[in-house]
Assembly symmetry: D2
Homo-oligomer: 386 residues x 4
């Protein structure tokens, strides 16, 4: 494994590095940790990356790694850099034959995403996008429950992703995180909606499997002088007639990372919240509300849910473990590839390049709809995972 | 006090009767409990209403009560009938000189509401609309906190009102409640949005004081064959630039009466939920989240909050007490009127006829917007409480 | 109905007055509201008690009420005075032929309680003790579930009652509440354990029906100079081998009225908390945790639970309603008595004189055990409700 | 790092292996994974332990590792075997010069613990005991808050540790976990109290720093035929007059791993629960309840709390991370030792051999007290961490 990004001040680089090795199925042995070659090399000891494999650029890394014997070179590249650089790095890595785990949103804009999709489809590479919230065991449990029809036909999905850290104009301080995330040249067309509403939208899609048809969106920038949206709400019409809402905020005082979802079906409903991820409430009229806990050994836990657990119930698992589950699922595919076996590329347990494309389409259409006063725009992308 | 409605099968009639007398400031002494004269009289003993004052019709009641000496006759009429009858009853009661507590939504349509407003404005009557959720102590505490500027400028309001009782087609059974509420001839232009989204909208307005400008709405009917909406979401642009969302459902399995609100201001945010009404979470970046409990004696409790309490903290108060607080506030005005004193008519603690008009406008514009694909329609009504 | 106690500064008098009439099955028409005759009369208007029936003393009240025609006189007396006066008032009221609702703890000491028991047993009076927490619908639901064997054999009961209001030496201020409750001459042998641990102990007994055998207790006084205990924990051995723990505190900062209980049976366990009384968690190995809500219409709600509800689920009920349920159950007995019918005196839905005796025995044995370093003392009282 | 124990069917071995390397400060390179030499070697690939260092016995491991050059041999041994084997393994490892992370309870009985203490004191080895719940960031935050006097003098500590997995006689099935834990020859004198009450007791001691004086305990075995206790409650008198209660259960249906603590001080109180570890409630009379979240960047987070975090607030951390914090703290000491620097041995951030001794004393005195009907026995051990 090689890490791109993750130099000092990075949050997500460290998360990738920790999650990737949590199950001892990978080792971080190489990296291009910063776009600044000197800083890239200086950061290597933080990750125990040997000096020889601390590269000054991605190009150098790909070239030199490919020059190593097959059993010594890296299998995959984790891309944990600001959005505007994802495309070039991921594309190069795939073209160099490596598997890729790419942070979200997948690219800077939809055009890049569609290009990248072609590159990936033309390759044998495993390509995962780190919509890490799909890795929570109860999210996967819910996904399978819905697939199995336990909630009946899905009518409504409400997703909220509420944060407060950008309540003040943090981009005017030395916050590296705030800096690039609010900069349209680095983050892309959307701020809040690119950074977190994409997660929320993806979560609803992943759990319900509903296919979108049209979208209407309203974005706001509440912090004066900010260049991108910091709040917004989108309404989604799904093909089956269901109605979805996605609300995201970066300006809600004291709110931390409050991603939550409610799903209503004709046979049951459910509710889950990322900040308390080991519980999910499942309801049906006339029955007591049921708290499903993350319990790998319980009769009510399905295969998807159980496979995502590492600990018995009551021993809480959390963010790192969920993130690691995205990695773990992609490793199965990488292993298959390494053995020359075929492996599923579209309907994967891990979020993939198709989800990445749809995420970029979501951003594009939300921004466009908002500019047109909430006009309904198409949301069916031909590449969307069905 | 006289009750109109409340005959067998009624839910809200009993609630009015209980709430009105909770503080021993009124007594239920007369009634026209059903539109069916015989049933009206037969229901009287359920409320300890003496036979002589168990009237067969509202007209009879108003006439006979007015014929009684002033110190024996009723002071006010509580209207707890299906929506389509509110207007006629309330109008007659006001014209007969009585005060009125009217259930919500105030009338069948906006035109009636505007007519009623004129009648009320031309009278001395105290007129309250039972948006009972405004009676919760922590709702009033929040209202004053916001008025006092403790949350700063309000940017966003998210209200949800989620129920599940109409998940099946209950109107095809003998459910009286479901029957009229899903019947456009009795309920009005909206189902779910008339019955509960009006509460949710009113709660946001009451707590924040924000003035609406435009609204866009999407209504759905998920239960096949139902004649009115049973789900929907509306987006509100407020005059100050704030964005509001109102989502209401009657088809969410196992959800009971889950009205909740989140408010984001530039200085703080808050969160409250009707099903757990004795707690409110107030947050500000950099501070621990604060749980404000309903505590009449705490230094952090303001005058509005404390005045709405009957019990010390930890001794939970709930639905009846909140409902009774709407009555209690209106009694102060009635007492002033009885003493020939002036009293505030627009900016009242209790929801009033202006709120009733705005509620009907909300319903009308939501239905119209939804029919036009979510078009933005004006939401500034000249009569709205400012 | 007549109220004894409840003059200015009283908390529980107002609660009795409100709860007693909540269902419109009683009216407060007489009272001896203070031990000070002048204050007694002065307080009468607060309760709408007519001057003629605002008595200066209990003796006067009982005499004059008995002189009224049977259909005009009161049916029962509610005793809401400090503990040391309960016995004399309750005894006199019973001897005068009235029914009694007596606040807890029932008397000043066990000897008084045993005397009072004889008086009640020698009369036809209905006698209830206001262990109001037994009135919560879910408490009664749990009681019947356990009686019905749904939790199997009960092994363990853990009850906590945690308050913080006596953290400082409030008895040195002008707090009437704190004054008598911490005064051994007025409160009795125990402070915290008399005031609230009795509730906690009673709740465990009421819900489980387990019969106590022995008790060991440790009391503490943490506030310097206080004359009675303000913290303690007791361990109870039940006849069937179950182990119970009762912990009570008045000195836990910020804790309001946090009575909670956990019960473990061989087939299931449950958990309930007074501050959030509309929910109860029921668990069994291998099943999702179940939240039973207070829902009069749900299939899982039993007869006892449903009978204690006034509102549909999601419309929270709370302290007043629970308190009123103790009254309501006693009214059924009073009505039977008035009609000359027989009625159950020992195994009643409402807490009764037998529970009152056991409560006083609990206090006596706890204090004695604590003085002997936690010695095991007998806890089987011959009069205990079986 | 070498792992002892952790062969198939083990739960805690895998946890040690994961936690130890979470921060990339150690690598698992050797092991004696089972007492059965064949199984020991067969399990090695599960942990990526090279065949050459997959030893058939601890003795072999210690000898062969010591024969390796210093820069290649292991630094420490993690002991994750059943209780009755801890002593011999840990002693041998220390005597061989290695550092040790030993699972709890530290030994089979107190005598072994005291022996081991001498061995450790006579060595330079870092010795940690995996009371992993002390590793939660908010536990450490609370510890420092109390040390800093923010809660004032501590009066009361209530700890509960409630599980349900041994509700049935699982030891009669092929459950390896249940088998040794309920076997007095393998587990020691106590079952539930050895396995989990020791954690609960340790947590109270760790957070408050209170020194115990006497203990009284009542143990129960509710599952017929079980050889050790599966339920119990202990009362602790602390030197400063505070009262503590420790209740533990393995027979509470549906309860998972519910360790919770409440602490009352003269200036404030707090409450924390392991199953929801990213929140702690801090209360003071007259103030809103405060939810402290695990937030490394918040002004209210102290040094101890912040140092234990890996992720920003709202990105939940859980069991593995807490466990890893015990390792992390011990690594600092190991690093100091390796550099020949002095390091604190008694008042350490990680639970140490002194805590291990006190844990064994706790078990011994609880069992003895229970056998004597709850007699008060001394609980001051000369070796206890002060």
């Amino acid at each position: 494994m090689a890490l791109v990004g993750g130099g000092s001040g990075s949050f997500i680089g460290r998360v990738h590095a920790t999650a990737a090795v949590l199950d001892n199925r990978a080792a971080l042995v190489a990296g291009a940790l910063s776009s600044n070659p000197e800083r890239a090399k200086a950061s290597a000891p933080d990750y125990d990356i040997p000096e020889a494999r601390a590269y000054g650029s991605v190009a150098e890394m790909l070239e030199k790694e490919n020059a190593l014997p097959a059993d010594q070179r890296i299998d995959f590249v984790s891309v944990a850099t600001p959005n505007f650089t994802h495309f070039e790095i991921a594309k190069a890595a795939v073209e160099a034959g490596f598997n890729v785990i790419c942070d979200k949103p997948m690219t800077f804009d939809l055009a890049q995403a569609e290009d990248l999709l072609k590159v990936v489809e033309g390759s044998d590479s495993v390509f995962a996008v780190s919509h890490n919230y799909t890795g929570y065991p109860l999210v996967r449990q819910a996904r399978q429950m819905i697939k199995d029809g336990l909630l009946g036909e899905i009518n409504a999905v409400r997703v909220q992703y509420i944060q407060g850290w950008l309540r003040s104009k943090l981009e005017d301080t030395d916050s590296k995180q705030a800096g690039w995330r609010t900069d349209p040249k680095k983050s892309g067309a959307a701020g809040c909606f690119g950074d977190i509403a994409t997660h929320a939208y993806n979560l609803g899609r992943y759990m319900t499997g509903l296919l979108p048809e049209e979208i209407s969106c309203h974005l706001k920038t509440f912090v004066e002088g900010r260049l991108l949206d910091d709040y917004g709400t989108a309404i989604v019409k799904f093909e089956n007639g269901a109605l979805g809402t996605v609300t995201a905020s970066q300006i809600s005082h004291g709110r931390e990372n409050d991603l939550s979802i409610e799903i209503d079906g004709t046979k049951g409903s459910l509710q889950w919240r990322q900040e308390n991820p080991n519980e999910m409430i499942v309801r049906a009229n006339g029955e007591p509300h049921k708290i499903y806990t993350r319990d790998p050994n319980a009769p009510f836990t399905n295969e998807m849910g159980a496979a995502a657990c590492r600990l018995p119930s009551g021993h809480p698992e959390a963010f790192f473990e969920a993130f690691a589950n995205v990695y773990r699922a992609s490793y199965d595919a990488m292993a298959a590839r390494a053995l020359g076996q075929s492996f599923e590329k579209k309907d994967t347990v891990y979020p993939n390049v198709y989800d990445g494309v749809e995420g970029m389409y979501f951003i594009q259409q939300c921004v466009a709809s908002s500019q047109e006063g909430g006009a309904w725009l198409p949301m069916k992308h031909p590449a969307a995972r069905r």
